[in-house]
Symmetry: C2
Subunit: 230 residues, 2 copies
DNA sequence: GACGCAGATATGTACAGACAATTAAACGCG
DNA sequence: CGCGTTTAATTGTCTGTACATATCTGCGTC
């Protein structure tokens, strides 16, 4: 148990005041010099604490105007979409991936120009089908994917391990299972499915576009948001 | 156009190197003293830039070992769940809220002990039903809610404006519409619905528990993730 | 009263130095 | 060669100081 840094302590104490409602939105909180005197430290130390709070969106800072507690606008929550293989393993279930189809072809999709590798497969948790996945991968951006054994490793897992960093956009919706999808997921046609579509870029160039269909009875997405998200 | 701060410029340049793949995961990036010499500035300035990157999760820093580019593990995306009223208004649609039922009672829900205000209603976008909402609000945490006119203002909107800050957990799943739900949303029974359940706390005390049912054909959730999330 | 300018005030950013904490790597010893 | 110890590299944090920058406040002028 090492003592937490002073700036961290200050940050926490102010955060607690805000979260508990002691300083409601709109409150002007003490200036840096005042806090500096209160804690008996240098201004940089206080500044670090306040900057962190501003970064987390709990306060707004303006020169001369001071630091005021921000009004919450939206519940912005952090949704961690881990790779399915990792997520299932983390829950202590047996993960399997079955590749149904893969082919390199020219893309007709406006969001994924050029040649792409197209894959289709099913993710299994404890031997029960969890998600049916359709994916396009830009071979221009990730030529190495052609050498990967995608029957062994799911393309999402491979990409996570080999493509350095990404930007992504996710769309979540629901639909009734088509006969083909119902067959793949071993559910009845018309059963509700959760559909997650994710487009991923790397430095503004599209890398992959994936649509995952989950049997709603077997899966749900969970996200947690804490104001202390740093 | 004021010149960006030097520490910000350094942060950006390193970030660009990482995002472009120039410094793949696992790369050890130059130490603080080296960067300090390169940019001709103080160590504090470099430290600020690197700390920001560490906070964003792009790099991992360890004493003696140095700063290394992190391996992406999960796609952690920021999902902004704005209040429905705001979201619909932002899309340029007409928003309406119709309160169907509200009653104060003792809660039997294990997650929301004590007396609660229970509300049910429907959110409309351009006069078409968008979401059916069931909600429990702790009257111990938010006694003022009893005086609010919830036929006029949706409870979510009221809470966003009056409760300072929150932690929340969201669950997203899908289900087929029950006859009652189908009637409220003006869809056919059995049609797929997107279900969002959100529990909200304020300083560890539960504030509200809400379940929103969306007609999947009329709504989808969109979330965007940039590696530069600060 | 309306307008504009000057000054006060608060934050933004940076510098230079210092010491602490951690831990990888080199070293020494059996 | 294996293992414990020392060394040194690297980041973590803080202290003061300094100047820049934005903007609120109040005063003076017309």
């Amino acid at each position: 148990m090492t003592a937490p840094a002073l700036s961290e302590r200050i940050r926490r104490e102010i955060e607690a005041k805000i979260l508990s409602g002691g300083w409601p939105p709109g409150t002007k909180i003490p200036g840096e010099v005042a806090l500096m005197a209160q804690y008996g430290c240098a201004r940089m130390t206080v500044n670090k604490a306040l900057s962190a709070l501003a970064g987390a969106g709990l306060v707004t800072r303006k020169r001369r105007a001071g630091t005021i507690v921000a009004h919450p606008r939206a519940q912005s929550m952090v949704l961690e979409i881990t790779d399915l293989a990792g997520e299932i393993a983390a829950r202590g279930q047996v993960y399997e991936w079955r590749l149904l189809r893969h082919a390199e072809r020219r893309s007709d999709h406006p969001e994924m120009p050029g040649t792409v590798l197209e894959t289709e497969g099913v993710h299994y948790a404890d031997h029960a089908p969890l998600a049916f996945e359709q994916r396009l991968i830009s071979t221009a951006q990730v030529p190495e994917i052609l050498a990967a054994d995608l029957a062994q490793t799911a393309p999402g897992t491979w990409l996570l391990a080999h493509v350095p960093w990404t930007e992504a956009e996710n769309r979540i919706t629901a639909a009734a299972a088509s006969p083909a999808l119902a067959h793949a997921l071993e559910i009845a046609p018309g059963d509700p499915c959760l559909i997650v579509t994710r487009r991923t870029w790397r430095a503004a160039a599209p890398v992959t576009l994936v649509t995952q269909h989950f049997a709603a009875t077997r899966h749900e997405l969970v996200a947690r948001f804490g104001a202390t998200n740093r």
